[in-house]
Subunit: 206 residues, 2 copies
DNA sequence: GTGATATTTGGACAATGACCTAATTAACGG
DNA sequence: CCGTTAATTAGGTCATTGTCCAAATATCAC
């Protein structure tokens, strides 16, 4: 069970690069092969279909997020937003997937299935961490408010890159990222304790 | 300058229907023509390219939203959320566009240009109406908070259908719509005055 | 009716993802 | 070194897609 040949790695790398630049749908297998100085048939030796290639990328992103989104014992607001920040960076690295999110879920059943499986545990982890924020006296929120925070974060995290690609093209990725993490900070603000408010306002000024 | 022939109308109607059901990308011109008992070439007589057809649909949606999103003299929270509700319904009617939003903006320069033109005035209208809510003592929010509310509404309004299609497939459209307008209500809640809070809580219980 | 215009037809075109086979080369264990 | 397996090349076909076009037909004003 050899996991990754060098060639396979090169293919995945180049695919991610080109997909990110031009969009998954607009990069053909022939084009990708040419950029790798390979024949098309050789691509299909490693990835029989384009969907298999996309599936691999989505697997890689899921893995990175698995390492990023973890339950923390004693969360601080800073740690929480650092985590969010890192999730956002992962999304940037795999932006092609985020931009074609809906399409992929509709067309690629394997990815869709894995996603819906993962998603519920992801939300639980967010929920756990937000509850830890409450226990740490950074915020005060009842169960339904925690739920609201989780689902709002989920929505923004999923689609901020899409909106930025449409509405904030002129901004740098860093500016976009700042804009949306501040948006989430503002959503937290009303729930923050005095202690939490100080930390959040630091984030909002940065 | 005859604006709409009966045939053209039928094409647009059927296209919207089929696009909504299966997704724009998965409905071929031949398929569409067959459903209309026409030849493909005849479609292209009215709409030379598929993008022209999408452009027309997007124009129709923009028109409906122009009628929906208007500055109101004395806005109440109920009127505000009724407006939001109607916008959401427009989005449902043209859900195919919302689901392929990013794609269309990337590929169809005509739609993209019109969109970015319209969007700034849309945001101004939202801003105006939210400021009217402030003047009506429903909420209290400074300029930067109003801005935050506008951009959050914009994000949710654009992408709620996409998220629902992925994560809440089992729910009815009405349930989905309720969920996301409640999400926006909860974002307003911290800014609400006592008067506003009463109205919002009514919305949240419904 | 006739001529001009609007509409419809049927087929062609290039590009795409997928698939296939045969032949060649590389890598590696015995 | 030999033989086996893995990797790569080369070439092709296939169905499907959006787009395009020339010819045929229908419509309607005069």
């Amino acid at each position: 069970m050899e996991s990754k040949s060098p060639t396979e790695k090169k293919i995945v790398e180049m695919a991610l690069k080109m997909f990110n630049e031009s969009g998954i749908e607009y990069v053909g297998m022939r084009e990708l092969a040419a950029a790798l100085k390979m024949r098309v048939g050789n691509l299909t030796y490693y990835f029989p279909t384009k969907d298999d290639l996309v599936n691999r990328l989505s697997l890689d992103l899921a893995e990175e997020n698995n390492r990023t989104i973890v339950p923390v014992e004693h969360v601080t607001l800073k740690a929480f937003f650092d985590m969010l920040h890192q999730v956002f960076r992962n999304h940037v690295r795999y932006r092609c997937l985020m931009l074609s999110f809906v399409h992929i879920m509709e067309r690629n059943p394997i990815v869709a299935k894995r996603y819906s499986k993962i998603q519920s545990t992801r939300n639980e982890t967010w929920s756990t961490n937000i509850q830890a924020l409450r226990k740490g006296k950074y915020i005060s929120a009842d169960a339904s408010e925690v739920n609201f925070l989780v689902s709002t974060i989920a929505l923004i995290a999923r689609f901020w890159i899409s909106e930025a690609a449409i509405s904030f093209k002129q901004q740098t990725e860093e500016q976009q990222l700042q804009h949306y993490s501040k948006m989430i900070a503002r959503i937290f603000l009303p729930f923050a304790t005095a202690k939490g408010k100080r930390e959040l306002e630091e984030l909002l000024e940065a």
